[in-house]
C-alpha cells in the first residue's frame, strides 16, 4: 500500500458503560480499497463501525479520516466529511417512502445534485426505481438492503461503511448485493469497509481483511490469503 490511509484507527477502545467492547483496535483502509472485517456474533464489529461514526465515541485511541482526527467529532459532522453508513439491520425508515428515504440520505451534502445521484443509484439498483412511492417497511429484505446502500450513497461518500449487508437474505440476493459492492468499487473507485459474518463472500471480494474476536484484531492479510487460511476456515467458514 502506498500513501497515507483514508481511514486509520489506532489503539481504539470503546466501552458500553463498564463493558469493554473494543480493546486496542488498529486498522487502515486505503483509497479505492475494499477492506472487510469478519468475526463471530458479538465480536464487536458493529461497535467498530459505530465508533468510526462517533456513536459511541472511542474512549481512548484515535480515529482519523484523511489524516484528520475525528475521534471527538459529532456523528453529523463526521458524515459531512464523507463517511456514510448502511447500518446493521438496515434501519430503513419504515413509514416513509423509498424516495423519502433516499432524500434523507442527501442530508450531509444538500440537494444540489439530487437528480444526478438518484439516477446513479437507480442504475445500480434498478428495482428501486419502480418502488419510489412504496413505503420502506413494505419492501422485501433484499430491497431494503439495496435501499440502505443507495441511501448511504446519496451523500456522495468517500468511504462507505456496510454492516452485514447479507444478513438474513436469500443466497441469490446476497450474490447480487456483493456484485454491486464489487461494481461500486471497480467502476466508481468507491472505498468500502465491509463488516460481515458471511466470511466466504466477503473474503473473496475484499482486497484486504481483518479478523475481529472479542474486541481485538487477531489476524489480518489479503482477502484470498485469509480465505485459504486453515484457522480462518475452521472458525468462520465451517460448512461453507
Amino acid at each position: 500500500m502506498t500513501g497515507a490511509p483514508l481511514l486509520a484507527l489506532r489503539q481504539v477502545e470503546t466501552f458500553y458503560g463498564p463493558v469493554r467492547a473494543l480493546s486496542g483496535v488498529s486498522l487502515d483502509v486505503h483509497e479505492a480499497e475494499i477492506v472487510t472485517l469478519i468475526g463471530a456474533n458479538g465480536a464487536g464489529k458493529s461497535t467498530l463501525l459505530m465508533t468510526i461514526c462517533g456513536n459511541p465515541q472511542a474512549s481512548s485511541g484515535s480515529v482519523s479520516f484523511e489524516g484528520r482526527d475525528i475521534t471527538r467529532m459529532q456523528t453529523h459532522a463526521i458524515t459531512r466529511l464523507g463517511i456514510a453508513q448502511s447500518p446493521e439491520g438496515r434501519r430503513i425508515f419504515a413509514r416513509m417512502t423509498v424516495m423519502e428515504n433516499l432524500l434523507i440520505g442527501t442530508t450531509p451534502v444538500g440537494d444540489a445534485h439530487v437528480d444526478e445521484d438518484l439516477a446513479r443509484v437507480f442504475d445500480l439498483f434498478p428495482i428501486l426505481r419502480d418502488r419510489t412511492r412504496q413505503r420502506g417497511g413494505t419492501l422485501s429484505g433484499g430491497e431494503q438492503q439495496m435501499l440502505a446502500i443507495a441511501r448511504a450513497l446519496m451523500s456522495r461518500p468517500r468511504l462507505l461503511l456496510l454492516d452485514e449487508p447479507s444478513l438474513g437474505l436469500a443466497p441469490i440476493v446476497v450474490r447480487r448485493i456483493f456484485e454491486v459492492i464489487g461494481e461500486l468499487n471497480r467502476n466508481q473507485g468507491m472505498t468500502i469497509f465491509l463488516v460481515e459474518q458471511n466470511a466466504h463472500h466477503a473474503l473473496a471480494l475484499a482486497h484486504r481483511a481483518y479478523v475481529l474476536a472479542n474486541g481485538e484484531i487477531v489476524m489480518e492479510g489479503e482477502g484470498r490469503e485469509l480465505l485459504a487460511d486453515e484457522r480462518v476456515r475452521s472458525a468462520y467458514l465451517a460448512g461453507a
Binding site: Q74, P87, F93, D111, D115, R129, A152
Partner: protein, 427 residues
C-alpha cells in the same frame, strides 16, 4: 380461539392492578357522599366502592382477554401501512377541499346564530392547536405534555404588547408567535436529550411552571385576576364597535349597514379559520422540505438518522420551536377573542385536551385532528348537563380508542413526495 391459561392469568393480573387503582380512586370519589347542607355529616357508601372496583375489575379483565385472544399483536400493525397507502387517493383531497368550503360558508348560512359561530371559532382554536401540536407529536414524535405553556406565552405576550406598547393585533400577532417559539427553543434545549416518558414528564412540569409564574408575577400579569380590556382586532383599521372613537371608522359605518354584534363574531371566525389553515398549509408543505423529512426520520429511527448526518438537537429544537410558534398565534387569537385572560385558562387539562385531539385523531393525520376536535370540544359544550361526566366520558373514549385503534381514529400518513414532484428521478 380459546383463551390460554397464560393469557387468563395475565389478564387477571392486569385486572387486579386496575382494580387496586380503582379502589384508591373510588374511596374518596365514590365512597364519600358530600353533604348537601353544612350541618349534614359526610356519609360513607361502601357499596359504591365495591361496585366501582368490581366494574373496573371485570371490565379490565374482559378487555385484556379480548386483546390477548383476538388480536395477539395489536400493536405491531404493519398492515396499517398498506391501508394508508390505499387511502392516498385524490378523492381524499376533494373531501378535504369540500369540507373547507363548507366550513368557510358556515357563518353565512341562515341557520348560523351567534352561539353556533362562537362555538365554531372555539372548535377552530383547538383544531389549530391540534395541528400545531401535531407537528411536535405527530411529525417529530416528541411527546409534549406542556403545549399549553406556549399557548399562554402567546396570549400574554399579545396582551402585554397590545396594552403597553399600543401595538394592534396584526403587529403583535407575529411577535406573540416569535415569543412562543423562543420559549419553545429555550425550554427545549435542556429537555430534548430526554426520551419518551421522561420528556413527557418534564414538559408537563414546564407547562405548570409557566402557569405558576403567570400567577405569581402579578406586577406584569395581574396574577390570578388576569388582565382585562384587551383590544379587539380590526379589519384593515375598521373596528367592530357600535360607537367607534373619534377618528375611527367602524365596519358597519364603512359598509353603510346597521350595526350588529354578530359581525365581530363572524370576523373572529374567519380570522381563526385563516390562522388554522395557515397552520395546515405550513405543516403540509414543511413535510416536503428537508427539515420536515428530518423530523419524521428522527421519529422513525434516531440511530439511522444520526448515521445519515442529521443533528438530532437541531432537528428536535426546530420542531419544538415551530410547534410553539403556532400555539403562540392561537394564544394571541384566544386573548383577543376573550377580551380578558387569566392563568386558569392555561391549566394542564388544556394540554391534555390538545394532546387527546392529536392522539385520537391519529398522530400525523390532519383530518383526524379536525374530527377529534369536533368531538372533544363540541360534546361537552352541547351537553353541559353532563359536565360532571365529562372527564369520565373522556377517559372512556381514550381507553376505547387505545384498545381498538391504537394508532388513532384516522391513522394514516401521506407520503410527502409524489410522482410528478420528481418523476422517479429518471434521467
Amino acid at each position: 380461539m380459546a383463551p390460554q391459561a397464560s393469557s387468563i392469568s395475565a389478564a387477571l393480573r392486569e385486572a387486579s392492578l386496575a382494580a387496586a387503582v380503582a379502589l384508591v380512586l373510588a374511596l374518596p370519589l365514590a365512597g364519600v357522599r358530600l353533604p348537601s347542607g353544612a350541618a349534614e355529616p359526610l356519609a360513607f357508601r361502601p357499596w359504591w366502592v365495591v361496585a366501582a372496583v368490581l366494574a373496573v375489575f371485570v371490565g379490565r379483565f374482559l378487555i385484556a382477554l379480548h386483546i390477548s385472544t383476538r388480536r395477539p399483536r395489536a400493536f405491531a400493525a404493519p398492515p396499517l401501512f398498506d391501508r394508508a397507502l390505499g387511502a392516498m387517493t385524490p378523492w381524499r383531497r376533494w373531501i378535504f377541499a369540500g369540507f373547507i368550503v363548507a366550513v368557510a360558508l358556515l357563518p353565512l348560512m341562515p341557520f348560523a346564530d351567534r352561539r353556533m359561530i362562537d362555538l365554531g371559532s372555539l372548535v377552530l382554536i383547538y383544531v389549530m392547536l391540534g395541528w400545531g401540536l401535531n407537528i411536535v407529536v405527530g411529525l417529530a414524535g416528541l411527546l409534549d405534555l406542556g403545549y399549553v405553556a406556549f399557548y399562554a406565552v402567546g396570549a400574554y405576550s399579545y396582551t402585554l404588547l397590545a396594552i403597553h406598547f399600543d401595538l394592534n393585533f396584526w403587529e403583535s400577532l407575529p411577535l406573540a408567535g416569535a415569543f412562543a417559539a423562543l420559549f419553545g427553543v429555550l425550554l427545549g434545549f435542556p429537555v430534548l436529550r430526554l426520551r419518551g416518558d421522561y420528556l413527557a414528564i418534564v414538559t408537563l412540569g414546564f407547562g405548570e411552571m409557566i402557569r405558576i409564574v403567570l400567577i405569581n408575577w402579578s406586577d406584569l400579569t395581574g396574577g390570578s385576576e388576569g388582565i382585562s380590556s384587551i383590544p379587539a382586532p380590526t379589519l384593515f383599521g375598521l373596528s367592530f364597535t357600535a360607537n367607534p372613537a373619534a377618528g375611527e371608522t367602524a365596519f358597519h359605518q364603512f359598509f353603510g349597514i346597521p350595526f350588529a354584534g354578530v359581525h365581530k363574531l363572524i370576523f373572529l371566525y374567519y380570522l381563526i379559520l385563516a390562522l388554522a389553515l395557515l397552520t395546515h398549509v405550513f405543516s403540509m408543505r414543511i413535510r416536503r422540505l428537508p427539515v420536515g423529512r428530518a423530523w419524521e426520520a428522527l421519529r422513525e429511527d434516531e440511530i439511522a438518522s444520526r448515521a445519515l448526518g442529521l443533528n438530532p438537537v437541531m432537528v428536535k429544537l426546530s420542531a419544538f420551536g415551530i410547534g410553539a410558534m403556532f400555539a403562540g398565534f392561537a394564544g394571541a387569537f384566544f386573548a383577543t377573542r376573550q377580551g380578558f385572560i387569566n392563568p386558569s385558562s392555561f391549566t394542564f387539562i388544556e394540554s391534555a385536551i390538545i394532546l387527546a385531539i392529536v392522539v385520537l385523531g391519529g398522530m400525523g393525520s390532519q383530518m383526524g385532528v379536525v374530527c377529534a376536535a369536533l368531538v372533544l370540544v363540541l360534546l361537552p359544550e352541547l351537553a353541559r348537563d353532563l359536565a360532571g361526566f365529562r372527564m369520565l366520558l373522556f377517559g372512556a373514549a381514550m381507553v376505547a380508542i387505545m384498545v381498538w385503534r391504537p394508532r388513532g381514529l384516522l391513522s394514516h400518513r401521506e407520503p410527502s413526495v409524489r410522482l410528478g414532484d420528481r418523476a422517479g428521478g429518471a434521467p
